[in-house]
């Protein structure tokens, strides 16, 4: 492993330095049919799950084949994508906002060969490399975050639960039988790197044990005032502690005020929360971001806790499946999961899905909690 210089001179970092050039210009990357028809599209159609056509006022058409993928991708896989794009799509490809890959061709006859090629490719372990789907009233790719693969704050993994859940609902990735589209997202901790707070179904990693305090190192590794200020519930106070005969400056956590947000740990590595038994998953449901029919909505907590069950998180996957099936059977056409729950009432949501309603689901966080209680005599038995 010999070091090879890029040309960068550490002694003289400013030499030839190029900065602030930003990303490549999008125009360089448009396939010709896109370049020629940008802003001129008249309408589209979903021809089959995963396949769209857009028709331009010029008469041009673009056919899009969308495939799912773990967004954690090796360069081998990216190169395979390039190979396919070179073969079928003139060397262009795109990613969607939900980490699917879109192959575009400019005429109908190129579609089927492309699909066949994509569907035919499998990993050694047997899973699809490029399953076609993810359009319309179905389930598309799960937006997710790092989990145990790269982050220091997760309360669950990301890629593993995503794979498990997508396996469970895979048919709905390749079908469009749901009342409306259903978006699942995962965030491995409360930082919620994604739009998890507004998803039809949100899988959220959550801690349930207050931080341990690594007194011996805390003052060396952290800024105590920042650690204290970081806590939204003011659960952290400064404290002098005896460690190995020496008095050190440290902090104390008022455990009963802690709601396990991990913000203190973000600010100070001497306050770790992670714990095998404490950590797990919160399921939230009924959020949305589109402004279609109803305004965007936050997801609501439907299951307060499911333990982490690596490698396949069966209880999480099952519960989601149950919610999806109940929704599929009961909602009206065009009705998002949250709109359905509101129409039938949350009391019916719990009855129909068979999920247990526990005291954890009642809001008790700050003033706005009050607005979620029932301030009317209207309810269903």
């Amino acid at each position: 492993m010999a070091f090879i210089s890029s040309g960068y001179d550490p002694e003289n970092p400013m030499k030839d330095r190029i900065t602030d050039i930003g990303p490549r210009n999008y125009e360089e990357f448009y396939p010709p049919v896109i370049k020629n028809n940008k802003g001129k599209w008249l309408y589209h159609e979903v021809l089959q799950p995963g396949v769209l056509v857009h028709v331009s006022e010029t008469g041009d058409e673009v056919y899009t084949v969308r495939v799912g993928g773990a967004r954690l991708m090796s360069i081998s896989l990216v190169r395979e994508i390039c190979e396919i794009a070179d073969k079928h799509c003139g060397g262009y490809v795109r990613w969607t906002t939900r980490n699917n890959v879109e192959f575009m061709v400019d005429s109908k006859d190129k579609v089927q060969p492309l699909i066949d090629d994509l569907q035919g490719r499998k990993f050694a372990g047997g899973s699809y490399k490029f399953p076609v789907g993810g359009t319309g009233a179905g389930i598309t790719n799960i937006i997710h975050t790092q989990g145990w693969i790269h982050c220091h704050t997760p309360a669950t993994d990301a890629s593993g639960p995503v794979k498990s859940v997508m396996d469970e609902v895979f048919e709905d990735f390749q079908n469009m039988r749901l009342p409306a589209h259903l978006r699942i997202s995962l965030a491995c901790c409360l930082n919620m790197c994604g739009a998890v707070h507004c998803s039809d179904i949100a899988i959220l990693g959550y801690h349930r044990k207050p931080p341990m305090v690594d007194h011996e190192y805390l003052d060396k590794m952290c800024e105590i005032p920042l650690a204290i200020a970081s806590c939204p519930t003011a659960a952290i106070k400064p404290k002098k502690v005896e460690v190995g005969g020496k008095t050190v400056n440290s902090v104390e956590v008022n455990q009963s005020r802690c709601m396990f947000c991990g913000n203190c740990y973000t600010m100070c590595p001497c306050l770790p929360l992670a714990d095998k038994e404490g950590d797990g998953i919160v399921l939230m449901v009924g959020g949305k971001v589109s402004n279609r029919i109803s305004a965007p909505k936050f997801s609501k907590v439907a299951v307060a806790f499911i333990p982490n069950e690596p490698p396949r998180w069966p209880k999480t996957a099952e519960t989601i499946k149950k919610i999806v099936e109940t929704y599929a059977a009961d909602a009206n056409k065009y009705e998002r999961l949250g709109e359905w729950a509101e129409r039938i009432g949350w009391e019916r949501f719990f009855e129909k899905t068979g999920l247990e309603f526990t005291h954890h689901l009642i809001d008790d966080f700050r003033d706005p909690a009050y607005y979620t209680w029932r301030q009317t005599s209207q309810f269903k038995f």
């Binding site: 070091f3 990303p23 799912g68 090796s74 790269h150 714990d275 095998k276 065009y334």
Partner: protein, 439 residues
């Protein structure tokens, strides 16, 4: 044989959905083989160690990554997330395992030529593992050593004409929906606005001068395919001012069952014959439509441009021609005080390429000035808005209050009047008062 046993991860190889484990294994193998004789600049078994540490997490139920520490490239305050393994001896290949955020092109279209360049660079100087893409939108290079950071940056800028994205208390990498490039609903050119502002604010993107992170996202219409309203400090959502364009012939074709409702998006089930009354008119949130004598009528003044009718009948209905965007501000994730959606600040502004989007920049910069002046450390714009009030936001942006700003007027009468608004001011003489009101 693999370096580490991964019996738990192995169970994630079965099932139809693409297995990230299989993919990582293929990359591990490819590196081990090194068919192209690459001069790897980080350990050849990096992916094996990554699988190993992940397997350990699956066993322990806990992460094995530590805090980042400050690593980065010279002169930039963002673009790199430092990361170290807390079991470096067992997994030396990932002992240092920093990510780079490579600023994706607006719209996320690529040529394979460019992608292959990225792959080559990342194969030699990094783990060969990516996220396509990160939640904010960047291309994520997942894992390299500190020493390689400058090398990668140098190659990116010199050979790929490509810069890093944001992290830290910066403007974060802006992102957009596909918009006009391939979507008939787009009310403005999301790619151009996204790209323009990304370029315009390179300094803000790379050099932390803000109280905390700040995000822009660009949606071409209220369908919000980049979810801007939920996760951008400023969301630019396309909309229009005039009337929905109607092709009555196409409406009839929908009614007659000749065209598929919602462009075929519900084809997976037999929902029965299309019923314009039930499926469109009754679901219109403002009830501003009716169908009479074979004609669909819309009282456009009452329409709130929710997109439903257009989504259901894209061949018959199109957004108006007088297009622009609404600007909503303050969305964020739940840390610290709860999640926020974007709140409407600018009901409508033209998206005007000809003057380099000046009206939009004026709003952005007024907001930044305020937030940089008043925002506390790690206080998002949304939180500042809550703390100082929506009124203050209007004041600093010079925008007049309109009922559009609220879903409903306040129900508490706790109005913080200002002294200058109250006749006679606030200074009064208690002795004067006591002349008329004995104690």
């Amino acid at each position: 044989m693999a370096k580490h046993e991964t019996p738990l991860l192995d169970q994630l190889e079965s099932g139809p959905w693409p297995s990230f484990v299989s993919d990582m294994k293929q990359e591990a193998e490819s590196r081990a083989k090194n068919a192209n004789n690459i001069n790897y600049q980080i350990p050849v078994d990096v992916v094996e160690d990554l699988l190993g540490v992940l397997e350990l997490s699956y066993k322990d139920g806990e992460t094995h990554w530590k805090h980042g520490g400050i690593v980065g490239v010279f002169g930039y305050g963002g673009g790199v997330i430092g990361r170290y393994c807390d079991q470096p001896e067992k997994f030396p290949g990932v002992a240092h395992f920093h990510t780079l955020r490579v600023n994706q092109p607006s719209g996320k279209f690529y040529t394979t030529e460019y992608l292959k360049q990225l792959c080559d660079l990342w194969e030699m100087r990094g783990s060969g593992i990516t996220n396509m893409h990160g939640s904010t939108g960047d291309i994520i290079f997942l894992g390299t050593t500190t020493k390689q950071l400058e090398e990668i940056f140098f190659e990116l800028t010199h050979n790929l004409n490509q810069d890093l994205g944001g992290s830290g208390s910066n403007l974060r990498t802006p992102a957009d929906c596909i918009g006009a490039a391939r979507c008939e609903y787009a009310c403005y050119d999301t790619q151009d606005l996204c790209n323009h502002l990304t370029q315009e604010y390179q300094d803000e993107l790379h050099r932390p001068a803000f109280p905390y992170k700040f995000k822009f996202k660009f949606d071409g219409c209220p369908n919000c395919c980049v979810a801007s309203i939920a996760r951008a400090d400023m969301s630019f959502i396309g909309t229009w001012k005039d009337d929905i364009r109607i092709d009555q012939e196409a409406v009839k074709a929908y009614v007659a069952g000749e065209l598929k409702p919602n462009a075929g998006a519900h084809a997976g089930r037999d929902w029965g014959k299309f019923d314009i009354q039930k499926e469109v008119i009754d679901l219109c949130p403002t009830k501003c439509m009716w169908y009479e004598n074979g004609k669909l009528e819309i009282d456009n003044k009452e329409c709130t441009r929710c997109m439903h009718c257009i989504n259901v009948m894209p061949r018959a209905l199109r957004p108006g021609k007088q297009t622009g965007c609404s600007i909503l501000v303050g969305a964020k994730a739940p840390i610290l005080d709860g999640a926020q959606m974007g709140s409407l600040l600018v009901p409508f502004v033209e998206v005007n390429k000809d003057n380099d989007y000046q009206e939009i920049k004026d709003v952005i910069e007024a907001i930044w000035d305020w937030w940089m002046e008043e925002g506390k450390n790690r206080e998002r714009l949304g939180e500042l808005m809550k703390r100082q009030g929506f009124q203050k936001l209007l004041e600093v942006t010079g925008i007049d209050p309109v009922p559009q700003h609220v879903q409903e007027p306040r129900h508490n009468p706790y109005i913080f009047w200002k002294e200058e608004e109250v006749e006679g001011g606030w200074e009064r003489d208690i002795n004067e008062f006591r002349k008329h009101h004995l104690r």
